[in-house]
Symmetry: D2
Subunit: 126 residues, 4 copies
């Protein structure tokens, strides 16, 4: 698991309770996906005709991020299926875990789910 | 299960793919919670000393909401534990299901998890 | 000037000071534009080849909207030029003015600024 | 004028037209204010009893920021009055100017507008 994204918490991301509003964790996990693909050596421009869509996300909060904090996102492959894969994102402030996001993506071709390309699968298994 | 919230999809909620960005479904479910409490006959101002926090959310997408659509949110109690409860939110455009959100809340008193007040539990069981 | 849009303030729109974060007023004014066009009898699907872009916005705050408030947006034509027009949006909670937004749009055709179509201009002058 | 803030454009900040939605420029300018105070040698924790509020913002767009771009924000004092001050924020992608934001703040003490503290004024004039 390695850090793929980081950002200072924005004032507009904090709510009346002084903590980051829950939906922003999903924004951060979404942003972290692109550098994670890059880190896996996967270049989506090489997979013309294939796309992926988000089908599910789960979020578990352990503690709150606040204005003044810088959040980091670590990402790792959680599960690789034939047509789906789940990435686990751990969002922290320093060592402290704030939220674990698990997002499941499905590979699409011509609008229908399809197996991940072999080359992509090989890179993820490496 | 009954409708507790509704809103037209905003232009700023749609992304480059022309569909609602995933984090906004969590915003809508969050907005739907307050009218759901009201519908259960639960007035949080009557529970001084008790609060609740979100500990987990699960989102499953079935189809996309788009600009021009009006989304509705139905809500129902999914599970009631001693100190936690899970509400299921079904977000639809017309009859079409877009996303099911399940959010788990924990009751707090003085910062520690505590059993839901008996009166609140009675109303939820009604 | 007439009311073209309204919405309850969302929890996620309020910041740590307990008031609506300033950028959301721009979101609301943006949402109010579409029903304002409709109210003027202007159907943009009739102007194929023409588009408009935002070139400037000015926001003046007088008071704050808060969670629990419902905001309304009144809109009126402020100024009509050859290729530009400015719409004034007054955002209120009840009678109380919170923010006046003035946004200037420029008419485009093939990516270049162009005069507003005569028919559209006639409707705005009506 | 010096750079005080920078961030990659987020996917969720882009709209159906593939460009950053206008309200996000206001979020970025707001984020840029805090490091600008720091750069002026102004520590707001030293001004107990004084606060400031935003009373107006103007935004002028010249070009669009897009996903994949990194935006930078330069900030400078535009105008210093007795109780108000205006900061100019220039938001760029590389050398290209996307948006100029001018925001006016008023100094408050006990909820009423008041002159900026002499020490703060001296630092801004330096």
């Amino acid at each position: 698991m390695s850090q793929v994204w980081s950002a200072p918490v924005r004032f507009a991301e904090c709510d009346m309770q002084g903590i980051v509003f829950n939906a922003h964790y999903l924004v951060w996990a979404d942003e972290a996906l692109t550098p994670w693909w890059v880190e896996q050596g996967i270049d989506w421009s090489a997979y013309r005709g294939h796309q992926y869509v988000v089908v599910a996300s789960t979020l578990e909060w352990r503690s709150s991020a606040r204005h003044g904090d810088t959040v980091t996102v670590d990402a790792a492959l959680e599960k690789l299926g034939r047509t789906s894969l789940t990435v686990r994102f751990e969002i922290r402030v320093g060592e402290r875990l704030c939220c674990t996001v698990r997002t499941t993506y499905v590979c699409l071709s011509d609008g229908a789910s399809t197996a991940w390309p072999d080359d992509l699968r090989a890179r993820l298994a490496a």
